[in-house]
């Protein structure tokens, strides 16, 4: 037996060597994680798409090197984000790694749609598992990191580390993400767009191109009419321009500007928006109407436009005005302002000025910058409906009808209940002036003044009433009207929805104004009036002076004479 000792030893050693891989680790890995420091819910579809911006919008990149001597088999990477992605999800990766080989594993998470419900920022955690080895000897390597999650309204302008920033583009590299907020598919915006088409454009569809496929002047005019219709919708809603939150935040080694952007549904329901918010709203409605929307970004400002072939049309959406902004533009003026800005845009972009950038929404969608899916919101929808219900049933028809009916207007005098004749009082010696942007009037200082007295009728900017209620002066501003006739048509339509019946006739011109004589009937009271209206930088403005009966004609005449 002794003679077999050596062969047995050799055989055992040989078997051990052959089975060595079963007992040793199948390889060691060295892992380096490059995590995202911030995730923006508005861009949740972008994070799922590896083709966007070269894969820059990822949750993490892991560089895994096999530092062992054996081949790594059954390699697998899984991750989860508790509270958002609760189940372990696979990250596509190579299944095997040779000794010395490196694999780059990039995670493009598919966040659930519910991420758009995030209204506040938070800290979230990502957990990662690196699995490899055989069933008999599985190996798990764990990593984790935390990141900031913003609210759905926030755009973080750059993800670049501070030490790498060198130019303007570096600090605004995420500007394309604005496209994610253009929400033409949002049910609230879809309904808003339909209402614009019905009530402002009167059912006309301006998005189509002629049957020949060629773009004609008529096609362009129709598209522009849609743009102006959207502008008019914001204008007659008395939507105002207003600031929103912005500032700087620290995300890891990146200090970035952030901006809180109200979504188009919030702009519509809140009836207010910043320039970029108004531009995004316009772009959303344009897209819903079948146009090819763009947003022009310039230093400290943004405005919307459309693309027609190789041409662009722009409109200044902030022309609706607001406190501190000065005048209000009508749709023609807003279009003119937009085209003027576009000329500057061309000049600056031709110089290579990086601050002038165009966001071609459809092109960005095609590149993966897709809009988020938003769920129906009854509260916001209700608020938006309240505003759209103040619009005329059909603005164009109302204008045409008013122009047709005006010469034949007749009135049956009845008294307006709210104007009960009282004993006449002498006017106060002191007079007060009230001015719109291009029209002013003076009235007795003793009269009581009401600013925007009818919430549902914001075009009535001011009303002043004599103490005995026998005299009244009213100031109107109709920003969306092109001329005094349209303005009167709008007033007539708006008041009819409030239960008041207005009849009037045009009575020539007076001192640069178009004069109207009319009677308003409400609650069996007839309010006789004379109105002077004219175009101003804020649309059409006008003053109405009248009485339900018993008014002091000397005072009323003096008021009338003071209108300038």
């Amino acid at each position: 037996m002794k003679k077999f000792v050596l062969p047995i030893i050799l055989a055992v050693a040989g078997v051990i060597l052959l089975l060595l891989p079963l007992f040793q680790s199948s390889g060691d890995i060295d892992v380096k994680i490059q995590p995202a420091t911030v995730i923006m819910p508005a861009a949740y579809k972008v994070y799922a798409n590896p083709n966007v911006a070269g894969g820059r919008f990822n949750l993490f990149k892991a560089i895994v090197k096999n530092t062992g001597s054996g081949e790594i088999r059954n390699f697998k990477v899984q991750f989860r984000v508790p509270g958002l992605i609760d189940d372990w999800a696979d990250v596509p990766a190579a299944t095997n790694l040779l000794p010395g080989q490196t694999a780059v594993v990039t995670c493009f998470p598919v966040f659930p749609q519910s991420i758009t419900d995030r209204n506040t920022s938070s800290k979230e955690k990502t957990e990662i598992k690196f699995l490899y080895g055989g069933k008999a000897n599985p190996i798990e390597h764990d990593e984790s990191f935390t990141f900031d999650m913003t609210s759905v309204n926030d755009i973080v302008f750059t993800n670049m580390a501070d030490q790498d920033k060198a130019s303007f583009n570096d600090v605004v590299e995420n500007r394309d993400l604005y496209a994610c907020m253009v929400s033409a598919e949002d049910p609230i915006i879809k309904h808003y767009a339909e209402t614009v088409q019905q009530r402002i454009l009167c059912g006309e569809q301006g998005a189509g191109v002629g049957g020949s496929g060629q773009i004609t002047d008529k096609d362009i005019a129709e598209k522009v009419r849609v743009m102006q219709g959207v502008y008019n919708a914001t204008l007659i809603s008395h939507m105002v321009y207003s600031e929103t939150q912005a500032g700087e935040s620290q995300f890891g080694d990146n200090t970035s500007s952030t901006e809180h952007i109200r979504l188009p549904r919030e702009v519509v329901s809140g009836n207010t928006g910043l320039c970029i918010e108004l531009a995004i709203l316009h772009a959303s409605v344009y897209k819903a109407a079948g146009l090819d929307p763009v947003i022009f970004l310039i230093p400290s400002h943004a405005y919307p436009g459309i693309k027609i072939g190789n041409q662009y049309v722009a409109i200044e959406s902030t022309g609706i005005g607001g406190v501190g902004l000065g005048g209000v533009m009508n749709a023609d003026q807003a279009l003119q302002a937009g085209m003027t800005e576009l000329k500057t845009f061309y000049e600056e972009s031709a110089k290579g000025n990086p601050a002038y950038k165009i966001l071609d929404i459809n092109a960005l969608y095609a590149d993966g910058y897709q809009d988020m899916e938003l769920k129906p919101d009854p509260i916001l929808a209700g608020e938006a409906d309240k505003i759209t219900q103040t619009w005329p049933t059909c603005l164009l028809s109302a204008i045409a009808e008013a122009q047709k009916a005006a010469p034949a207007a007749r009135a049956t005098p009845v008294r307006r209940a709210s104007y009960t004749p009282r004993p006449r009082t002498s006017p106060s010696a002191a007079w007060t002036s009230y001015s719109l942007s291009g029209v002013s009037v003076s009235y007795p200082g003793s009269w009581k003044v009401y600013y925007r007295p009818v919430a549902q009728f914001p075009a009535l900017v001011m009303a002043a009433m004599s103490p005995d209620r026998t005299g009244q002066v009213e100031a109107f501003n109709i920003p969306g009207a092109y001329n005094p006739e349209q303005a009167m048509a709008y007033i007539r339509t708006s008041l009819s929805r409030l239960g008041e019946n207005v009849t009037y006739t045009q009575a020539g011109s007076y001192n640069g104004f178009t004069r109207f004589n009319g009677i308003t009937y409400a609650n069996q009271v007839a309010f006789k009036w004379i109105g002077l209206f004219k175009n101003t930088s804020s649309g059409v403005e006008g003053i109405v002076v009248g009485t339900p009966g018993g008014g002091d004609s000397a005072v009323l005449n003096q008021i009338f004479s003071s209108i300038q």
């Binding site: 055989a11 040989g14 060595l20 911006a53 040779l98 080989q101 990039t106 060198a166």
Partner: protein
């Protein structure tokens, strides 16, 4: 990962550099005014799936004048940073740029880690993101793909030569369900993968044991009888 995303990004890096100062980079404003360009890219894949890239581009005089004012010419570190960001799913190393002013050309070289995916058993996969490129075989382990693309306003013809590792075989070009080109090849794996030091030594030891045991078992030859 997808190779062509790299190709496009590389093309962009140079082409945009050339066009940055032309005033025509804003293609959307005016009708395109194509600037025809040609770019040659050589990709050499090593045994571990990493790839060495060499990008060559010659220019005409007008393009060269613009290129001289570009970031890639004057601030290559920024150009490198931009390229790394536009190729976020890869790891780039050993970035270098050589400008040949006499011949109005620029050459970039760098290494891409994990350019090719290993699927085990010696099987490797290289994906091209380009749809239906014209692919032709140059030699047993090299192929050429030609494609045209717009980069900004420029119509660019890109010629990509791919050299697979020495010893690779069974190189096949197919397309995925989206019509995008995929190269698969074999390198290592199979029986050869079992020729590791422990296997070879183990087999030798067992062989030696068998040999010795056989010798021990062999009956001793009959001794001659001595009278």
């Amino acid at each position: 990962m997808k190779l062509t995303s790299k190709i496009v990004a590389i093309a962009c890096a140079i082409t945009i550099a050339i066009m940055a100062q032309t005033g025509k980079s804003f293609a959307q404003v005016q009708a395109p005014d194509p600037v025809n360009m040609a770019e040659q890219i050589t990709i050499k894949i090593d045994n571990l799936g990493d790839a060495a890239w060499e990008v060559n581009q010659g220019m005409n005089q007008a393009q060269w004048e613009n290129f001289k004012n570009s970031q890639l010419m004057n601030d290559p570190s920024i150009a490198k940073r931009n390229m790394e960001r536009s190729l976020s799913t890869f790891v780039l190393e050993d970035f270098n740029r050589t400008v040949d002013e006499m011949n109005r050309s620029v050459k970039m070289t760098f290494k891409v880690k994990a350019a090719v995916q290993y699927n085990g058993n010696g099987n490797w996969t290289l994906k091209l993101d380009a749809k239906n490129p014209q692919v032709s075989k140059l030699a047993d382990n090299s192929y050429m793909a030609i494609s045209n693309m717009y980069v900004g306003n420029a119509l660019m013809q890109q010629t990509v030569k791919i050299y697979f590792p020495d010893g690779s075989g069974n190189i096949q070009q197919t397309t995925d369900s989206f019509g995008k080109a995929i190269f698969t090849y074999s390198k290592g794996g199979g029986l050869l993968s079992y020729f590791s030091w422990n296997n070879i030594l183990g087999v030798l030891l067992i062989g030696a044991a068998i040999y010795l045991a056989a010798r021990q078992q062999k009956p001793a030859p009959p001794q001659p009888k001595i009278a």
